[in-house]
Structures are given as C-alpha cells and as structure tokens.
C-alpha cells in the first residue's frame, strides 16, 4: 500500500536513524499493539511486548531485507514472536500469577467499546465470525490449515473454503480503505 513511506522508513532504519522508530510507531504502533494484545490478552503485558518489540526492531534493523518480506510482515513477526515468548516465559515462571492475569484478561469488555476502537471493530464485524476464526487461526495462532481443522473441529475442505471467503471479505474492506488512502494521497 504505502510503499513510498515503507521505503523511507527502511532507509532510515538502515541508517540507524531513530526517526525511523518515530515513523514506525506512528504508522504501525496501533496495529502492532493490537497484535500483541490479541496474543497476550492483557493491556499491561501487551505494552511490555510492544516496548520489547520496538527495541528488537531497532536492534535488528540491519537484518531486515526488503526483498524477502514487506516491512509490516517483518514487524508482525517480531511482535507476534515477542508476544508468544512473553506468554511462555510468564506461564513458565509463575503459573499462579498468570492464572490471575488470565481471569483479568477476559474482562476486556469495557476496553472493547472505547470510542476510537469502534470503527475498527465495526470493520472486523463485517467479516463473519466463522471466517474470522479461520483467519485468526492462520495469522495469529500460526496454525497450518490442517492444524486449524483439528483444533476447530472443522473439516479441512471447509477450512479452505472459509479461508477463501474470509480473505475475499477482507479484500473488500481494505480494498475500500486503500482506495480511500489512494484518493487522499492524490489530494496531498
């Protein structure tokens, strides 16, 4: 989508210019925070995860190869893996504490209706839950289609077709968004 911005950020990253972090936070901060939250299901831990992720992003900036992955893909991998590691280390260290946290975690009802999030949640709602679950299993849980089929108790064929439809729905949403962005960029 915003390849020009991506290129600029990548250049700054490779130069070791900390302006890159500022731009990354601005353009990807909320999304990565959402990713971290989706994995750890706790605001405080998600904040720690985002912080650790940004430090990793900064320290590993020279290893990013634009030929191998989009900038977002790379950022996503780091954030998601940091989140998964966090969960593992926390559950390894103090099973009791995590138990408490988990009970906390599912009390996120209020958080979910923060006004600034309504818009995005609305969009998320555009994708039916049965498709969304498959997409989440694939993108967030890192399951293969076979694993998703076993985990969700849905036949592999159904997983495949739901994934297809889910992606089509998704395309409708971001297709419209990117059209809007494109129009905006023409204006700017």
């Amino acid at each position: 989508m915003s390849t020009l911005l991506e290129k600029h950020i990548v250049e700054l990253l490779h130069e070791g210019n900390d302006k890159a972090i500022s731009l990354l936070y601005e353009h990807y901060g909320d999304t990565l925070y959402g990713v971290a939250f989706k994995v750890v299901r706790n605001e405080e831990i998600a904040q720690d995860v985002l912080q650790e992720s940004f430090v990793k992003i900064w320290n590993k900036s020279h290893t990013y190869d634009p030929a191998k992955a989009k900038l977002f893909t790379w950022l996503f991998r780091i954030t998601r893996n940091t989140a998964i590691d966090k969960i593992r280390s926390l559950s390894n260290k103090t099973d009791k504490e995590i138990q408490l946290d988990v009970s906390d975690v599912y009390n996120v009802g209020k958080e979910e209706i923060r006004p600034e999030l309504i818009d995005m949640n609305k969009q998320l709602d555009k994708i039916e839950a049965k498709y969304r679950i498959v997409l989440e299993a694939l993108f967030f849980e890192g399951m293969t289609q076979q694993e998703a089929s076993e985990e969700l108790g849905i036949p592999l064929g159904t997983i495949k077709s739901r994934l297809k439809i889910g992606l089509r729905e998704l395309k409708k949403i971001y297709g419209a968004a990117s059209l809007l962005l494109f129009t905006l960029m023409q204006w700017l």
Partner: protein, 254 residues
C-alpha cells in the same frame, strides 16, 4: 504440467503460511525462498498473503496508551547510549591496544638498532685495537731503528724538478728496517701528487701517496731489501699504478 503439480503440492504444505509468520526452520525458509524466487505463482501467493496479513492485522488495531511512546523512546535511547558507551570503551581499548602495539614495536625497533649499533661499536673497538697494536709495533720499530747505533741516516734532496724536497731516510741493515721522513714537499698543481715507490729484489712496490702536511712528522716504513731503491715521483692526482720514470724527483739507495 510437472512444474504446476510441484507448485500445487508446495502450496498445499502450508509452508508459505508458516514462513509468512516466521515459523519455519532455516532449512524450510531456504526452500520457501527458492520457490518464491522460481515460481511466479508462489511469489504472487506470498505477496497476497502479506497483503492479507497486514489488512487483517489492521482490523485489530488498538489505540496505544498515553506515555507508551515515550517509554519506548527512552528505552531505545538508553540502548543507543549503552551502545555508544560500549563503542567508547571499544574505541578506548582499541587505542590502548594500538598504543601498546606501537610502543612494543618502537622498543623492539630501538632494541634492534641498539644491538646493531653495539655490533658496530664492538667492531670498531676491535679494529682500533688492531690498529693500535700495529701502530705501537710501528713506533717500537721506529724507536729501534732510530736508537740503534748501526742505523744510518741519509739526507734526501730533490732534483731540479723539486729542489725544495727534503727528506731523511733511516736504514738499519742489521734489523732489516728502513724508514723515511719527508720534511718538505714543494707545492704541486692541484691535479698532481707525490708518490713513493720502492724497488726491492727487482720488484716495484707502490708505497702510496705523500701528503705533505700529514706526513711531516711521520716515519714511513720502507720495505727492506739488499740494494733496495726508493723513488719519489710526481704522478697525476690520486696516484699511479707504476712510477713515471721521467718524473722522478728523488731517489734513495740503501
């Protein structure tokens, strides 16, 4: 057909999805990257997956809380200053190492040149010692000759070519030693010099160039021989290999 089948099988493995999320081993990653590079279909699928991932993840965007940005920034700044501090130490250590290496080399070098100098000095001392012994021997012989009652003293005068030439020759037939002391040499043009010769047992020996000032107080040893003959000739500057007979300015028979 075969290629398409291969691609289909590859896409069915879910390796691409695993790669997308960074869940592949190094070996699997290499395989996926090879497929992406080789097959446009795989490449397109991968790019679509990337697009989808970003689009899907964006749906989960969550407003970052106040202050998190600042926390992250100060954390990264600390990292940087940590890195910088490390760099400072690294630079200091490098400089110290370089200084150490440099000074080691300097001392090694100095030691080498001192050893070299020492060898030269030792050599010089040996040469001087030998020289001194030789000179002492010479002086002793001179004394023997001069002090011996059997020593005969000859006054040597230059011929018409060098009237002011004055020399004294000492010959001792018993000790078989002879010396000459050149007292005065008339001035010669720049490109000429006096050279001393001796004919001993029918052989002409070059005794070297006479330098008026240096040789004034010196006794010059002459090779001894029965019925020997010494000559002083005028030769071109730097000396000659054989005497120029017509330029003989003095001769001494002994």
């Amino acid at each position: 057909m075969v290629m398409k089948e291969k691609v289909r099988i590859f896409l069915d493995t879910d390796l691409l999805e695993k790669y997308l999320l960074g869940n592949t081993t190094a070996e699997e990653s290499a395989r996926v990257e090879r497929y992406i590079a080789m097959y446009p279909e795989v490449r397109k699928t991968y790019h679509d997956l990337e697009e989808n991932l970003e689009a899907f993840a964006r749906l989960y965007s969550r407003k970052t809380p106040e202050g998190l940005r600042e926390r992250i920034f100060s954390n990264i700044k600390n990292q940087r200053s940590g890195r910088r501090r490390f760099m400072r130490y690294a630079i200091a250590a490098s400089i110290a190492a370089m200084f150490f290496a440099g000074s080691s080399y300097f001392f090694w070098n100095q030691n080498q040149s001192l050893q070299h100098e020492n060898a030269i000095v030792n050599n010089k001392i040996r040469v001087l010692e030998a020289d001194m012994k030789e000179q002492l021997e010479d002086v002793r012989n001179q004394f023997i000759v001069l002090n011996n009652p059997q020593t005969r003293k000859y006054l040597v005068n230059g011929n018409q070519k060098a009237r002011d030439l004055k020399a004294i020759a000492y010959v001792n037939p018993v000790k078989k030693l002879s010396y000459i002391n050149v007292q005065n040499l008339p001035q010669l043009p720049e490109n000429q010099c006096y050279q001393m010769w001796a004919e001993v047992n029918g052989e002409m020996v070059n005794l070297g160039i006479l330098r008026d000032l240096d040789d004034k107080d010196k006794l010059m040893a002459l090779p001894y021989g029965e019925k020997a003959m010494s000559y002083i000739t005028i030769e071109p500057e730097g000396g000659n290999t054989s005497p120029t007979v017509q330029n003989i300015v003095a001769n001494i028979k002994y």
